[in-house]
């Protein structure tokens, strides 16, 4: 029976083609705007998360100071140091590789300069896990050393790679020794194994997470193996960032939670941040913005709904007699109500289909323009959920707008309706 009502409603719409189209136009303008804005928002989100994913991969998470990440983050993200027991972290079930960066300022003494005196002073010292260089290049960017030098290997201690600037100031070269004073009586003589290529010669190789690496000062810094930092200062609250890769097949979120729990139980104050966490935060931000824009676009949708209501009221008036006839031949009030609701719902739905197509087209066009302007590959997203929701909602908007007129039609006393001219 519903199918018959659908046909009846469709025939009635087609009979008033011009007016029906005008009503549909009123609906699809709103839908187009909403769909386009949400799609652009989704595309933006996809683009950003894709970029993050290219750095993270699906098997990697980072450990940051507790509260440094997320909506309640305080201070500049990731710049607060924390204490870390790297050995414990590496022992966490599911962890394949863990690499960390710690940084502090220490008293250094270089090799004797040309005048015979060594340069002394306080300089930044970065402790890098060698794995960071070998396993997580997407985080660090490629560290390039000048000819004749090398980066340090896993297991090495008492070696250093110098930033080009500090190398100049020390007048040090590969094979020289740099003296570092550690905590208390701890001190080490480090052999220079490599010197970094100066920044201006190294354009474009910066890692995405440069902040964690303090990239802007990297030519000012001496780099030592992470374990060497332990020898000098022991475990201290000077870890900037830790990157962890999980074993293949492990759920990265699960391992991250486990690591966070174990480390925090041991007194660290850290949070493990996975790709999912970052995506969520970005997703929240972009969807808040899209929701706001879509809300504004929704106003035009409301106007479209009022248009449907107006059309339906006119339709009820001019079909008063027809309604009377339908009731005289046995239509229940519910039947009349259903026919009119389907009719208004159909107009909403057609508006929804046209609006969705136009909206998706518009968002694709806008994405390509934005992409060209900012030189990025913007993802074009045609979310099935969005499309489905839009279609259901557009039918709903039509039906709700038609509810009152349809109810009025159903309530018409049959005798009066038949007499209506």
């Amino acid at each position: 029976m519903l199918k018959d009502f659908l046909v009846l409603a469709g025939q009635s719409i087609m009979h008033r083609r011009m007016r029906s189209w005008l009503t549909v136009i009123g609906v699809f303008i709103g839908i187009t705007a909403v769909v386009a804005l949400i799609s652009i928002g989704l595309g933006l989100e996809r683009t950003i998360t894709d970029q993050i994913a290219s750095v993270f991969g699906v098997d990697t998470f980072i450990i940051m100071n507790e509260g440094a990440f997320g909506p309640q983050a305080h201070g500049p993200g990731g710049s607060e140091e924390y204490a870390l027991d790297l050995a414990t972290l590496r022992a966490v079930e599911g962890v394949k590789v863990a690499a960390a960066v710690r940084e502090r300022t220490a008293f250094l003494q270089g090799p004797p300069r040309s005048d015979g005196t060594p340069l002394q002073g306080f300089f930044p010292v970065s402790g890098l896990s060698p794995e960071l260089i070998t396993e997580f290049e997407s985080f660090t960017g490629e560290l390039k050393v000048q000819k004749g030098g090398r980066l340090f290997d896993v297991g090495e201690e008492a070696v250093t790679v110098l930033g080009s600037e500090i190398a100049n100031r020390f007048q040090a070269s590969v094979g020289n020794t740099v003296f570092v004073a550690g905590e208390g009586a701890a001190e080490l003589s480090l052999t220079v194994v490599g010197i970094l290529i100066p920044a201006e010669e190294d354009e474009g190789s910066r890692g995405v997470f440069a902040g964690g690496m303090n990239q802007s000062q990297n030519q000012d810094t001496i780099y030592v193996p992470y374990e060497t930092m332990d020898l000098l200062w022991g475990p201290a609250k000077d870890v900037l960032i830790t990157v962890v890769r999980v074993n293949p097949g492990e759920d990265v979120d699960e391992v991250a939670d486990r690591a966070e729990e174990i480390l925090n139980a041991r007194g660290s104050e850290i949070s493990a941040v996975t790709y999912t966490d970052i995506s969520e935060v970005i997703g929240t931000m972009t969807s808040t913005i899209s929701a706001f824009l879509a809300g504004i676009a929704g106003i035009s949708l409301l106007v479209g709904g009022v248009g449907v209501m107006n059309t339906m009221f006119t339709s009820v008036l001019e079909r008063t007699k027809e309604i009377g006839v339908m009731k005289a031949v046995g239509a229940k009030n519910g039947h009349v109500l259903t026919i009119f609701l389907i009719e208004s719902g159909l107009m909403g739905l057609v508006g929804g289909i046209v609006g969705t197509l136009l909206g998706l087209g518009l968002s694709a066009a806008a994405s390509s323009i934005i992409g060209r302007l900012f030189g990025v590959e913007m993802a074009v997203v045609a979310s099935p959920t969005l499309i489905l929701t839009t279609l259901v909602c557009s039918f709903g908007i039509g039906a709700i707008a038609g509810l009152w007129p349809a109810w009025r039609a159903a309530q018409l006393p049959v005798v009066d309706a038949l007499r209506y001219e």
């Binding site: 029976m1 009846l8 025939q11 027809e322 031949v329 046995g330």
Partner: protein, 284 residues
């Protein structure tokens, strides 16, 4: 209007079956009041009417005499204000709205003066309409609709829209529609009112045939003497009362008003009812 007798009501109808069966339609002392602003219009004032199955009844009377109101009540489109109305043994006043809907969907078929076809639908779809509301399956519906259109002589017009048909053809489509759910009663409200004699004659012939061949009860509200000519009985109304019952061409029972008919007219004289000077429809 003198000559009132005690058993007037009984004399209005003749029990063809010897008074044993329950009549198809039994109206006793029916009143119907409408409220128009502050005045109450008394459309029916204690009307008695009994109709047997298979009869053709013509209801005549001047405008405002209550013909249409009576028609609406017989068709379960409206309920009386007072009195008792039995249709096929069911008390119309006791029925709920959905029961009335079922009643007019299945037991009654309407034919209107202005045809009242749905303009957007083809002849066949118009005939199918009452069956759609009864939930009859599509194939069955289409088959029956075509059958009925052939029966009314429009087998070659099934796909035509109403505006592609002549007046007579439209009224025949309307008759096919009235027959869609095989009702017991056909109610025709001025079926020839908008037709010339040429196209009206087949319509009347068909109505008569429905009674004779199919045993349908046909009630025609009309001004048309030709329409009255096919009736077994002519019921004359005036001011909401039955004033005479007769056969065609016979002066009916010397204008006997039904007992209990409230003709004092204290609230509304005919003028208030909008009676025009059409005069009495009695003829012949």
């Amino acid at each position: 209007m003198g000559g009132s007798t005690q058993d007037g009501a009984e004399r209005i109808h003749i029990y063809r079956t010897g008074g044993l069966a329950v009549p198809l339609l039994e109206f006793r002392g029916i009143t119907k009041d409408y409220r128009l602003g502050k005045t109450v219009v008394r459309a029916l004032r204690g009307l008695d009417l009994v109709v047997e199955e298979g009869e053709v009844i013509a209801i005549m009377g001047p405008s405002g005499s209550g013909k249409s109101t009576l028609m609406h009540i017989v068709g379960a489109l409206d309920t009386p204000t007072g009195g008792t109305a039995f249709l096929d043994g069911q008390d119309l006043q006791q029925l709920k709205e959905h029961q009335l809907v079922a009643l007019r969907g299945k037991k009654v078929g309407f034919v209107f003066q202005t045809f009242n076809l749905v303009q957007t639908l083809s002849a066949q779809r118009n005939v199918e309409l009452p069956m759609i509301f009864q939930g009859i399956r599509k194939g069955e519906r289409a088959r029956r609709a075509r059958e009925l259109l052939i029966k009314v002589g429009l087998g070659d017009r099934v796909k035509h829209k109403p505006n592609e048909l002549s007046g007579g053809e439209r009224q025949r489509v309307a008759m096919a529609r009235a027959l869609a759910n095989d009702p017991e009663i056909i109610l025709a409200d001025e079926p020839t009112g908008n037709l010339d004699t040429e196209s009206g004659t087949p319509v009347l012939a068909m109505l008569k045939k429905l009674s004779v061949n199919d045993g349908k009860t046909v009630i025609i509200v009309t001004h048309d003497p030709d329409a009255a000519a096919i009736a077994d009985r002519i019921v004359r109304l005036r001011d909401g009362c039955v004033v005479a019952v007769s056969s065609y061409g016979v002066e009916g029972e010397s204008g006997v008003p039904s007992t209990g008919c409230d003709v004092d007219g204290s609230i509304n004289e005919p003028s208030t009812l909008g009676t025009t000077t059409e005069g009495d429809d009695s003829h012949a």
